[in-house]
Symmetry: none
Subunit: 150 residues, 4 copies
Amino acid sequence: MQTIRRLGLEEAEILVEGARRRATEIGIAMCIAVADESGNLVTFVREDGAKPTSISIAIDKAFTSAGARNHTTFYAEVSRPGAPAWGIDGTNGGHFTAIGGGVHIVEDGGAVVGGIGISGGNSAQDHDVAVAAVDFLTARIPALTTKSPS
Amino acid sequence: MQTIRRLGLEEAEILVEGARRRATEIGIAMCIAVADESGNLVTFVREDGAKPTSISIAIDKAFTSAGARNHTTFYAEVSRPGAPAWGIDGTNGGHFTAIGGGVHIVEDGGAVVGGIGISGGNSAQDHDVAVAAVDFLTARIPALTTKSPS
Amino acid sequence: MQTIRRLGLEEAEILVEGARRRATEIGIAMCIAVADESGNLVTFVREDGAKPTSISIAIDKAFTSAGARNHTTFYAEVSRPGAPAWGIDGTNGGHFTAIGGGVHIVEDGGAVVGGIGISGGNSAQDHDVAVAAVDFLTARIPALTTKSPS
Amino acid sequence: MQTIRRLGLEEAEILVEGARRRATEIGIAMCIAVADESGNLVTFVREDGAKPTSISIAIDKAFTSAGARNHTTFYAEVSRPGAPAWGIDGTNGGHFTAIGGGVHIVEDGGAVVGGIGISGGNSAQDHDVAVAAVDFLTARIPALTTKSPS
């Protein structure tokens, strides 16, 4: 039997608040999604004016970072043609994405408890907002951070 | 050219707050989704402990009530075997649902501006929470209500 | 080798015009789709204000009536639980629909050359508009009519 | 509450007429789709002889250009292996496409009100027809144009 640590709605809402603060700073309307350690959606927010196509991309980034225990930027590298994970994007019913903007959340540098996915800007902007959201969470709950892609 | 009225994140968050208050009263952890008048997701919340299978059902109920301009309970009636819309559930890529718990939002009794979908209890409980959410919204923004199924 | 008779865009546009005239008469904004004898879409029109969920339902009705060589109302009867075609709706990747509003087009009472699908009202209204569209076509091209369900 | 501007069927039909004129000039039977600002289909035309596989590609191009607020050619660049949006095609249930031939429509250089998607030739021809369709619209309704990819 297992005991699982999982971020709850409270932590997810802190992540959303952090993401929205950074999105406002850079002036881009964003879609923001948070998934739990199983990849299931916890919360989602589409800011007024965010692109409709970003809805499912943000949810996919949260799913991927949480489920694959990594930044989605990591897969941008390894999923290139000829690279070791070539073709991993598009798996999981099309929901695994290698576009930057998904960041996993770890507890005390250990177990992954969820992930956040951002879509609305370019992938560098999306990643920046996702990292800012996690930093905002860490400032309030120091045990929750992320780890560099590996 | 058309000019469309659409609920924004501000109204969606009021709906979520209203839904959560009622969910707490009846003691059931709920999934809560809000869609805009085109059926696209605006916000989603999964309360801690809500069933994983309720995630997509809540989103589908919001999509259906917004897009079909009706309560999903309406389709529970007309989609029975032999009834006029028999088989309408399962259309739209499987996202059209006839399960109670989806309620559309109308502005000044006229144009549909979005919909809310609830899943987590039985369909009567889900519908009750959706209606309570709209009542909570109407108390704050009187121009936004729903209409009886028809 | 086969020589196929198929309605072209010219006939499809006559069907759309006939459908729109009837939709205006009954005061309901409709989605109108025309498929060829292979079930592939020829043309589609969403009138301003028609429900978003009607888009794919209209296309499915055109696909079903053309491909199954029948009125979709026929399948409302035979697809009831226990009836001979119980479960046929939902086949074809979910695109086979038994909801009234799809009417096939036959040439000289013989080969099916396409179908029209209407969605936006209730199924009786949708069927009425589909039949009116075919009548409008027949008045201009007498060789093209429909046949009663069988 | 938000107030949204959206192209209606009238503007969509002007786009279709413009696309058909250009398609005739270059001698290629085209599929032509127009989506609204939410990505939902407004109208579709398959010219006689156009390829069956172009039906869904044209619809996807209209969806993508409208929903992502850009030319689909923009994504041809940024979705190459190693580029920032590598893998964005195939998201949104497989409907996001990076193939040229989708062009968004903006009102007064500002809000995106819809998009047009063309499929039938190669991607350069498809893009050419889409741009010609928007030029045809702009000549009649100067407030409606497109913007260069960015």
